[in-house]
Symmetry: C2
Subunit: 149 residues, 2 copies
């Protein structure tokens, strides 16, 4: 069996389901998102709209960037702006049904995680580098043990 087949067997368990993912909504005030990101400590999280579709990604740096004014560091933007005003709107996401394993791995070269959506764009969960590396670690131990040369 090829490496690809060994990983394919394990890949069903890669998805971290939506229920375990920290997120914010696009219409939340920045104040709320600042608190969420400070407390959950994940560096970048998905942004969902009212229909649970993934519409952006958000990190603390996108928020603190608005706090840097000419004079000083200001907290005023936290009350004035919403998540949708600062979030990253250009990002990779995948539909498990349509995306091959090779395509997933290729995207994980430049993305620490990939939001997974269904055919209607509704958020299903995250595919993370950690899950992939765990599987690779397992596979190379298994493979090298049986096929050592």
């Amino acid at each position: 069996p090829s490496i690809k087949h060994l990983i394919q067997e394990k890949s069903g368990s890669f998805l971290i389901p939506a229920s375990r993912i920290a997120f914010v909504q696009d219409d939340n005030p920045l104040y709320h998102a600042f608190l969420i990101l400070t407390k959950v400590k994940y560096s970048k999280i998905p942004v969902l709209d009212k229909d649970k579709k993934v519409v952006g990604l958000l990190s603390l740096a996108m928020i603190t960037d608005k706090m840097l004014t000419n004079e000083e560091i200001s907290t005023a933007p936290l009350d004035q702006l919403k998540v949708k005003d600062v979030m990253q709107t250009k990002f990779d996401k995948i539909n498990f049904v349509e995306t091959t394993l090779e395509a997933q791995l290729h995207l994980l070269i430049n993305n620490a995680f990939l939001p997974v959506v269904d055919d209607r764009g509704v958020f299903q969960g995250l595919l993370t580098r950690r899950e992939w590396i765990k599987a690779f670690n397992y596979v190379t131990h298994t493979y090298d043990k049986h096929y050592k040369s």
Copy 2:
């Protein structure tokens, strides 16, 4: 050849040298670190002391956590505190000479990156998940092409 050997050939190029790494010093005021982290956009960076040894890791969340007071979000801590007052001091780091490839991969399961140091603890650069995944991606293409079954 085993997967391990194929990766070992490429692993010389994994280290991102210290000259290309964004960092802060442990005695910098938080104000400075806040600006650095907001501008470079890396989510977590190494903290070095005067002797260029890695003494901690720093993210924006460690700084914003100090800004959450009972009343409101305050910028006062940015002037009052230093990087060493909030940085993460418990973290994994590796010495390339001493660490096997398996040990590196195992550590990358729970670490997005690993600071690399020499025998005196002086910062050499970072080993990142991105570099590992690029190598794995290359190796599986090569391996499966030659040893398909």
